[in-house]
Amino acid sequence: MSEKELGKKWDRCLADGAIKLGTGLGLGIVFSVLFFKRHTWPISLGSGAGLGMAYANCQNNLRSHYMLHRGDKQRGSTQC
């Protein structure tokens, strides 16, 4: 169903965000712990990076319908 798509997308977004945030956070923490002497900046960096990736991913995901991919072009040309 088309109306559920958005929901699915949002779910994926959130899940992806959560994962990326978590991963980033985790990495940040790890890096911070490991490499950066428990500075908070790798944690925030990582979480921020993670969040940012998630945001971008989510946006991309939400835009995906309106984007024409190269493959589609090619597919479209071949289809035409």
Binding site: M1, E5, Q59, R63
Partner: protein
Amino acid sequence: MLRACLRGANATARVSLLPAPQPRANVSVSASKVVVAGLLTVSGGIGGTVLYASVMLKTQHRCLRELATTAGEAKSVICSLEDYWGCLGLCLCVCVFSLEECNECHEHKERPVEEVAARLAQQEQEEQDISASVSASLEDSLASSAKATLQAIGAQEAALQAIMQHTDKLKEAMEAEVLPEEKSNQWKDLEAALADRTTALNDARAALSKANESLDSLRSVIDESKGLKISSVRPLVLAAEENLHNMVVDLDKMVMKVKLRLQSITLKLLSKLCADQELNRELAEQKVREKIHIDAALEQQKLEDQKALDSAVNTALQHVKEEARLDQERKLAELREVMEAEMRTQLRRQAAAHTDHVQDVLKVQEHELKAEAEQVLSSKMLEQETRYRQLTQEQLDNFTLDMNTAYARLKGVEEAIDSHVVAEDEARKAHQLWLSVEALSYSLKTAEADVPTVPLENAAQAVRDSCRDNDFALALASALPEKSLQRGVYSEASLRARFNSLRSLARRVALIDESRNSLYQYFLSYLQAALLFEKRQEAPPSQLSSEDLDPFKLLSYASYCLEHGDLELAAKLVNQLRGEARRVVEDWLIEARLTLETRQVVNLLSAYANAVGLGTTQAP
């Protein structure tokens, strides 16, 4: 005497042949004449002999006695003959009368023509036979009677001779003056002669009787044949009669001769006695006494002579009459024969002419009658035929009419039945279609909340089956969307419910389209949706303007429509959404479209089925 008797008998016979009213009187008259003549002659004879005896001697007495006996015998014979003739005459009369009556009674019958001819032929044959027999009998009797008559005549001659001899001898004996011995011889001779004479006389008498018998038989035969009344026999009969007459005449002559001789003898003897001298002595005693006797006797003798003459004349007259009659009869017979022959020829001619004429007339009549009958028959037949034809034609027409009407009715009935069948078929089909369509529409209702209907394939197949020859219905049935067939459609309620859930989503992504689809826009759109309030349901205008294309408005319009059951308008309105909202409601729109299509088709089918059903069913 005999001739008189015969004449009398013939007269009676002749008279009896004619249809005379009183034959018996004639018979009696002739019979009385005969009787009287006979009696007179007899008495004359007796008187003569008595006289002779009274004059003669003892031998004369003896002679007289003998004469008397002969006379007596003659008298007896004559008397018997008289009686016989009288009886015969009477008998003949009776017989002839009876024959005549029989003939008359026979003639009264009527016979048909062919029978008459046959009878005539038969009669002729019979006549011929009878004539032959009669001629034979006549000849026989003639021969016998001729013989007898000849014999009688001979006997009479002999008697006459004997009498003459005797008289001569007597004369001699009386006249001759001879010696007594010779006289005795003479007397002996005389006795012998007398004996001869007596025998001769007896013989003559016997012969005479025989002749008379035969003559009688001949007469009877003649009378019989006369009584038969056959013309062919007549000449024979006439000839026989002539012969009979001749014989009778001869016999009478002879008898008369003998009588005369006897009488003359007595007279002669008487005269001789008067003149005889030897006997005068005896006579002288009685002379006076006897003179008177002689006178009386002479007178008597005269009378007797007269009578004898009369009788002789009568007999001669009768003979002549008889001869004349016989001649007349002969002539009559000849004439009759001639006339008969002529009459026969004439009659034959007439009969022939008559038969010819009758034949002609009959032919003509036959033709006429035949023609008439044929005409009548033909007319009747024609009439009958025409009537029959008419009747048959009528019958045929009636039958044809009936048949035609029956056929027409049958045809009508058949057509009605066919049309009924057709109509019923149509009705059945329509009913089936309707039923299937109803089933289809019912299957549309099986959609529950969020569950589509059953796949409409079966129902659609049923519909397709029930409308094989109906192109419209087929087209309609095949216009059903594939998805609905495979998967079924959602009900309006479910769509409505779905739309309600969709509406909020569509509101949230109202700002998102191709150009604005970042997350920030998403956030904004969400904010807008949270902050913007529109009427939940708003009646859509009849014409959408550009500002009505706002999603919120559209959504409210669509909600309104949905709430009021107008899925079509709702779908139309929702179709105006653009961007992400459009993408979000895409599925719903498809479903709505599907449902709408299906519903439309089903409605059309139902309407069609209803129309068809209405059309087929006939109001009573």
